[in-house]
Every structure is written in C-alpha cells, then in structure tokens.
C-alpha cells in the first residue's frame, strides 16, 4: 500500500497556479525527492501533504485515507522545517516529547520513546539543553527526532539542510538516508540541489511550473531525461537539433549540423529531433593523436574545476559541444586554440522531448 497518494492536486493563489495538477504515489518505506527550481511548487506540494495548505482541487491520501481537508494536527505526519522551527522555550527533551504529549502518551512510555529518539540522533547527553544552546547541526537532528518520535505515516522535509555548511550537509545526507532505511519510514524530501536529490533518493520527481516533469530513479533521471528541462536541470548537457537519416530498430543515424550521430531512439526519415549528449560521455583527443579518429574541432574555452576540466569545443563542421574530462585524463594538458578530435560513442546521444 502506498504511504501517500496525490491525485490531480491543484493549488491556486488568485491567478497564480502554485501547483498545476500533480499525481504522485510514495510507496511505503520509499524515499521520494521533489526537485526543482525556486517557485516550482515544491513547498506548496509538501504543505498540502502536511495539511497547512488545502488544495483547490484534487485528493490527498495518507495511508489510503482521504486527508484532503483534514487539519494538520489530525494527520499523523512528521515534518522537518527549513529553519527547524524548534520551540526555543522548551528543552530538547520537551521539544521531542511535545508530539507525544499532544497524543496523550503516558509519562513512562513518553520518557522511554523520547530517550530512544534522542539516542537515535546521538543527542542523549543534551536532553536538558535549550535549542539556543546547541549548534545548527544538532538542532537539525533534534528536529528530526521530534518528527520521528511520533512514528509518522510519512516524514516530510523541506530543504532541511539549507542552513548547514557543506561539510555538515554531506554528513547529514548519509545519516538521514541510513536512518530512513533502518526505520523503513516513508519520506518526502524537498530540495533544489540536484546532487542532494541524486545521492539520497529512491525516486526523484522533477518539478517545473507546478507540474512534475519527470519521475524516476536517480539513474533514470540523470541518464535518460525525458525532456530538455530535466536534462538541463540535472547538470551540464549538450542539447542539439538533429535530422534523422535512417532508422534501424531502436537506433537511428542522424545529422546535427554536419556532425554525424548514432542515436538511441527512433523516428521517421527526415524528422527533426532534439538530442541530448552528456558531456562526460564524449571522448576527446589531441588532433592527429593515435586512436583519436573523430570529428575535428578546436578548444574554444576551458574551465578548471579541480577534479575535472570543462571544455568548450568548436567543431569544424559548426556545432559547439561541452565536454567534461577528469583532471587525471592525459588530454587534460589541452590549451585554448589546440586542435582536437571528438568521438561520440554510439547510443550515447539520446532523443528527448523539447
């Protein structure tokens, strides 16, 4: 049974459609991420699951039960807020105990469960402190414990790592993912950081303009984006227009402004299609070097990133391509103006919706 179902959910604010019709199922024990640029409706979607926003139309089900119009305090949903929203006038112990008190859980059981929750996030020694007396990372963990202790049907997190520094963020990612697996909890996570989404999720829903543009595993989303928006949002990409020359099975020969391509995808002869090529899948060699034997061009620009180098290659036949190579790659001694040859392995160019 799925933990959360959204069915044709719409939220309108006056004439703004914050969410324009979202269908989403979160399976029990699944980690689903809502990913998208600012203003695409992620928070609104999450708040409709939590009950802080009532949908204009559509249905929200939690654990199979229709909750569309149910007040937040009557849903059994755990939420971690961006700035943690800890209660500053209560100790960590009381913060975590709050949800259990509201549920009338007897004192002894309450103490036991609060103890367990604090232990889970390694904060047992801090139970009597106040939120103002602990670090940001610790506050983050209290917020998590507070949401988990009520054994929610689903845990919702809205950009929970936004306020942490990079080092702490990486650590929290691992911790959260482990905790989620260990407890087998269903989880909806909101972020605009694609790395965060790729590294944690079972499935990612990429949103834009109040709609889910693609939903799938991190591999699906990254390797086989369904459209230009997803391709561009998920990282560097080369997007070209190509004309189909011939088709055989699921592969096709095509021409992109003079550059021959073997596509993964099909179409009628003469069709114009949009093609995406991931820059790190393109082979690059010095012009004339043994084994190069590709399309000639020269380096128009390059950017050094430490672990990798990004090249802008102007092909002699016209198009420009972005190519990413590891820093350790022998060709990484290239300089602007150097002649190069580019090879695109068959099947790597990928037809997407425009």
């Amino acid at each position: 049974m799925s933990a959360v179902d959204l069915e044709a959910v719409v939220k309108r604010y006056g004439r703004v459609e914050a969410v324009a019709g979202v269908d989403l199922s979160v399976e029990s024990g699944e980690f689903v991420t809502l990913l998208g640029p600012s203003g695409c409706g992620k928070t609104t979607t999450l708040q409709m699951i939590a009950g802080f926003v009532i949908p204009t139309s559509g249905q929200v089900r939690i654990g199979g039960r229709d909750c569309t119009r149910l007040a937040p305090h009557r849903r059994n949903v755990g939420m971690v807020f961006q700035n943690y929203a800890l209660f500053p006038h209560m100790t960590l112990q009381d913060n975590v105990a709050f949800g259990l008190r509201m549920r009338g859980v007897p004192r002894a059981e309450r103490d036991r469960r609060v103890g367990e929750a604090l232990a889970l996030v390694r904060l047992s020694d801090y139970a009597d402190r106040y939120p103002g007396q602990i670090s940001g990372g610790q506050q983050q963990r209290v917020a998590l414990a507070r949401a988990l202790v009520i054994r929610p049907d689903v845990l919702l997190l809205d950009e929970p790592f936004g306020a942490l520094d990079k080092h702490l963020r990486d650590r929290m990612r691992v911790d959260l993912r482990e905790l989620q697996k260990q407890l087998g909890i269903s989880l909806v996570f909101v972020t605009h950081d694609q790395e965060e989404a790729l590294s944690m999720s079972d499935r990612i829903a990429v949103m834009e303009g109040g709609l889910i543009r693609q939903i799938g595993t991190p591999g699906d989303i990254y390797e086989r984006p369904a459209n230009r928006f997803v391709a561009e949002f998920m990282g560097e990409s080369n997007i070209l227009t190509a004309r189909i020359l011939s088709t055989s099975g699921s592969e096709a020969e095509a021409d992109a402004g003079g550059m021959p391509l073997r596509l993964n995808g099909s179409g009628a002869r003469g069709d114009a299609v949009t093609v995406m090529i991931r820059p790190e899948k393109i082979m690059l060699g010095r012009a004339g070097a043994a084994g190069a034997g590709g399309i000639p061009g020269r380096v128009a620009a390059l950017q050094y990133f430490g672990s990798s180098v990004h090249y802008r290659i102007a092909l002699d036949c016209g198009p420009e391509l972005t190519v990413i190579r590891p820093e350790a790659d022998p060709v990484s001694r290239l300089a602007v103006g150097d002649g190069v040859e580019v090879a695109i392995p068959p099947g790597i160019p990928f037809v997407i919706d425009d």
Binding site: H73, G78, F81, M102, Y130, Q133, R146
Partner: protein, 288 residues
C-alpha cells in the same frame, strides 16, 4: 567598525550635552530637591530642612495616604489587566491580517494617540454621564428606569484610561507576535496540537516578552494618571497623583507632596524590576 580613533568616537557624545543640560535642570536637580524635601519638616506652614522622617511616618500612619496608594495600585492593576486582555486579540488580528487591514488597524490605533487626552475624556463624559448617550438610550428603550452609574466611579476611569493607553499595549505585543516564526506554530500543529494548544504552548509563551513590555508600560502609565480620574472619577476615585497635586497646590505642603512622589517613584521602580525579572524568567537560555 570605523577607523576613527577611540577618542573621536567618544567626542560624539558631545552632541548629547545640550539635552543633558536640559535634563539636569528640569529633571536631575528637581528630583534631587524632591528627595531632599521629602525629609524636611513642615509645621504651621513653615518648612524646616533637615533629615526628618515625619513625612514617611505620616504616610505609614495617617490611614489615608496608604489607602489612596493602594487604590492607585489596584486601579492600575485593573487597567492593566483590561488593557492586556483587549490588546492581545487585537495584536493577534494585526499579525494575521493582510497588509491593507493591518494598515487600517495601525491607523485606528495610532490616531487616538494624536488626539488630546482631555478631549478623549470629554468624549467619554458625553457617553457615560448620567444624561450621556448610553443612559439616554437605555432609558428611551425602557430597559432601565433610572440612570446607571457609569461615570464617577472606577468603571468610567478604567474605560477612559484603557481608551487612552490601549495603543501602548497593542504595539509591543504585536511586535513580539510578529517576531514568532510561524513555522514553529505549524510544527506544533504537525505534531498533533489543535489550535488552542498551539496557542497555549507555543504562541503565548513566545509572545511573553511583548506581554511583559505591555504590562510594564500600562502599569507605569496608569500609576501616574491624574486627568482621567479627576474628570471621569469625580471625587470618588482618588489616586496618588491627585493627592500629590492637592497637597502641593492647595496646602503648599512640599515636604509631604515630595514624600508621596518618592513613594510613587519607588513603586514604579518595583514594577520595572519585576518586569525585568519576568523577562529573564521568560527568555530561554541560549549561548551564541
């Protein structure tokens, strides 16, 4: 901060000197004179300077002054309580209202501040008096046969003083409410708290600094009211400021008026101290 040498920064305090001189003449020296006068002796219209406790023993023993002081304290407590109870929902409304409504409320709150207190008192006389608006209407409708005593008693004074000082109560509470991150209240709701429990456990405790500020302002201002009890209380509600005025202006008994002023000031100091203790109790510990 700035590259100014330290001496340069202290030199800026020179700008405060004119106000300092003003305060010294109108406030510092007079208060010192007041304090010393409170220990003088007043007999048969003659004042003997010195260190006598006559005035203070009189306060403690004449049976009237302490009674009036106590009346002033209880009246102030009533005004403060009514003021807070009225102000809190208004502040809540201002927080939840949209920008237009909020501006309108702000206007309604601030505009009476720009009207003379005595004028507002006059307005209440016209409403609460024996032949005022309320009594006339109630009698016309046959609901009562003789006028209700709405004025020349505490009720009238409380109504009129709350009318004058309500903005001073609403604005600090509103400021405190506005500082509360709504996510905290949402968090409580998501943890299962129904609206009234969110209010009791989260909103109210977090708004306490504003409530304490409003309490302090209302109480201190109420302790000093003179005009409103004179006009709307007649001679039936006597406050310490009224008694001070009478003793000073009509009996020329400076020493005793001074001693009562010291008592009034001391009670204000107590309220301020109480407020800062409350504030400390309500502010959660933090170290950053």
């Amino acid at each position: 901060m700035t590259a100014n040498p330290k001496g340069g920064r202290y030199r800026a305090w020179g700008l405060i000197v004119p106000t300092g001189v003003l305060y010294a003449v109108t406030f510092g020296i007079p208060m010192a004179m007041l304090l010393s006068a409170s220990f003088a002796r007043f007999e048969a219209g003659r004042t003997t300077p010195g260190f006598f406790l006559d005035n203070y023993t009189r306060i403690a023993s004449d049976g009237v002054t302490l009674q009036v002081f106590w009346n002033t304290v209880t009246l102030s407590a009533q005004i403060t309580a009514v003021g807070l109870v009225v102000a809190f929902p208004v502040a809540m409304l201002m927080r939840r209202a949209g920008p237009g409504m909020r501006l309108a409320l702000m206007f309604v709150l601030v505009s009476p501040l720009l009207t003379s207190i005595i004028v507002r008192n006059v307005a209440w006389m016209l409403i609460l008096g024996r032949s005022g608006l309320i009594n006339t209407w109630l009698m016309d409708w046959g609901l009562i046969s003789s006028p209700l005593a709405l004025m020349y008693n505490r009720l009238g004074v409380i109504i009129a003083v709350v009318h004058v000082y309500l903005p001073f109560a609403v604005l600090p509470i509103y400021a405190a409410l506005r500082a509360i991150d709504p996510a905290r209240e949402n968090a409580a709701a998501s943890l299962g708290a129904p609206p009234w429990r969110v209010f009791v456990h989260i909103t109210l405790p977090l708004a306490m600094p504003g409530v304490v500020a409003a309490f302090t302002l209302l109480f201190i201002l109420s302790m000093g009211v003179y005009l409103t009890p004179v006009i709307l209380g007649g001679n039936f509600v006597v406050t310490l400021p009224m008694m001070i005025t009478d003793v000073a202006r009509n009996q020329y008994n400076w020493p005793f008026a001074s001693a009562m002023s010291v008592l009034l000031l001391a009670s204000i100091v107590v309220v301020v101290a109480l407020a800062s203790a409350l504030n400390r109790a309500f502010s959660p510990p933090r170290n950053d």
